[in-house]
Every structure is written in structure tokens, then in C-alpha cells.
Symmetry: C2
Subunit: 158 residues, 2 copies
């Protein structure tokens, strides 16, 4: 019986290590819901802190694929194009339609729709609509950051 107990104990230990879920730092593994919550926090940061808040969710090596423009590689290049978020007339909001994550909980994505509300030259309210895909990657420090973001246009909803 001792032989059996030792084997069971060793097996249990290795199984726990191999499954990698016993970290006290991150007791709950990330799920699709983690990404939905991140997107809500991300949008709130952009809304309250403009470009700085928006960019705080981007990884250093992130890539932005803007419609009509070439790819922007790296946080500094992307940041330069986000000053419009500091204009109080501009409101960017988005809604994830779907979120999914890898079994290992280190890579995930969302896609959804966005609305961009602004004002034209005459101060009249204007709205444009689009879709987006955002890819999230867990960083070495355990935080989640956007590693890729892409948008394109949608028709005005009926």
C-alpha cells in the first residue's frame, strides 16, 4: 500500500504542475469573459484618459492595421495617430460581439462593432460605424495587452 500511495502522491503532484493552474498569483485562469472585461476597462481608460488611457492597453510591440493606411508597428508609432482621442468632441466606443481564448490562456481575441462620434467643421454631430478585431496576449508580468488591432468600415445601421 505504501508503494501505491507514493505513486499516487507523485502522480498528483506532477499532474498539478503540468496543468499549471495552482498559481496563487492568478487563481482563476483567463477566459473569454476575461477579455470582455478587459475591453470594457480598455474603453473606459480611453474615454477618461484619452490617448494615454487607450495606449496603456497596448503592448510595446503592438501592431495597428488602420483602414486606408499602412501597418503601424510598435507603441510609439501607434500613439502618434491617437491624439484625436484627446479631443473632447470625439467619442470612440466599441462593443465586442464575440471573444475567444486559447486553452493555455495566453492568447485570445475579440471582434465587434464600433461607433465614432465627432463633429464636422460646422459643429454638427457626425457618426461613423465600423468593425474591429483585437488580439490580446498575456504579457510576462501577467497583464493582458493588445498585440494587434484592426478596423474597417460598416454601413450605417438600419
Amino acid at each position: 500500500m505504501k508503494t501505491f500511495s507514493l505513486a499516487v502522491a507523485a502522480v498528483s503532484l506532477v499532474a498539478a504542475l503540468a496543468l499549471g493552474t495552482a498559481s496563487s498569483k492568478n487563481p482563476a485562469p483567463a477566459t473569454a469573459q476575461t477579455l470582455r472585461q478587459l475591453e470594457a476597462d480598455f474603453m473606459n481608460a480611453a474615454s477618461t484618459r484619452g490617448a494615454d488611457g487607450f495606449m496603456s492597453y497596448y503592448s510595446e510591440d503592438a501592431v495597428e492595421l488602420p483602414n486606408g493606411e499602412d501597418a503601424l508597428k510598435g507603441k510609439p508609432a501607434i500613439f502618434k495617430t491617437m491624439a484625436f482621442l484627446n479631443n473632447k468632441d470625439n467619442h470612440l466606443s466599441w462593443t465586442p460581439t464575440f471573444a475567444d481564448i486559447s486553452a493555455s490562456g495566453d492568447l485570445g481575441y475579440t471582434y465587434g462593432t464600433y461607433e465614432f462620434r465627432s463633429r464636422d467643421k460646422d459643429g454638427k454631430s457626425i457618426v461613423s460605424y465600423g468593425k474591429y478585431t483585437t488580439i490580446w496576449r498575456k504579457q510576462k508580468d501577467g497583464s493582458w495587452k493588445v498585440v494587434l488591432d484592426m478596423g474597417n468600415d460598416s454601413p450605417t445601421p438600419k
Copy 2:
């Protein structure tokens, strides 16, 4: 020594099972290079077999996010928009810039650039340029399929 050997054998067995790498069906775990090869095969299928070849790389529940249009959900809805690939004047080609995959080897993505060569009403050659993001997911049968594809426009390269 017999106790020790039994424990080691049991531990090794469980470790192999937990790591999940001991499948004779899939001896090599998927890597970013797997996705680059998939994209080459995918493009070849579209080039030689048109819409049928292109769609053979899509999962049943795939989503297409076309520029200027609403999201298309599910393979049948996407297939309807791909008949242009059967026109011998149309040539869609793409080049992945980057590929990455989750630690668990079940979810990955690529992004890159595409070229679409066609002819206008007068038969004159025309080219349009763009970028894309493709998200790949390993299916239950072990094959990899596109679960999301999104494109947008790029300027004409200088």
C-alpha cells in the same frame, strides 16, 4: 528501488499525458511556421480551385469582416461573397508579415498584406492593395481552419 521505479514510471506516464505531446497522429506541435505553411496552402487552394478551394480552409462557424459591409457569420454566408474568385481575371494573393500561436497550440493568427489583381470594364489591368488579419483555430479533427478573417485598404506601395 522497486517503489522508486514504479513512482517514476507513473509520473512519466502522467506527465506525458498531461503535456499531450505524445500523440502519434500529431508528432510535432503546431508553431507559427505551421500557420505560415497553412497560409501558403490556403492561397494555393484559392488559386487553383477558386471559391471552393478558398472556403475549404474556413471553419463552419467562421466570421468574415469585409470592409464597408456588415459581418458575415458562418461558412454559407461567406461562400456567397466569394464567387469572384472563380473569375479567371481575378487574382487574390497575400503575404503574411507575422504569425503567432498560443502555448497550447490551438489558436493562432497571422497578419499581412494582400494584392487583388483584376480587369476594369475596358479590360485594363487594375490592382488594389490591402492588409488582413486571419485567426486560425485547431478543429476537433486536428485540422486548422480560419475562424475569422478581416481585411482593409492600403495605399498603393511606393
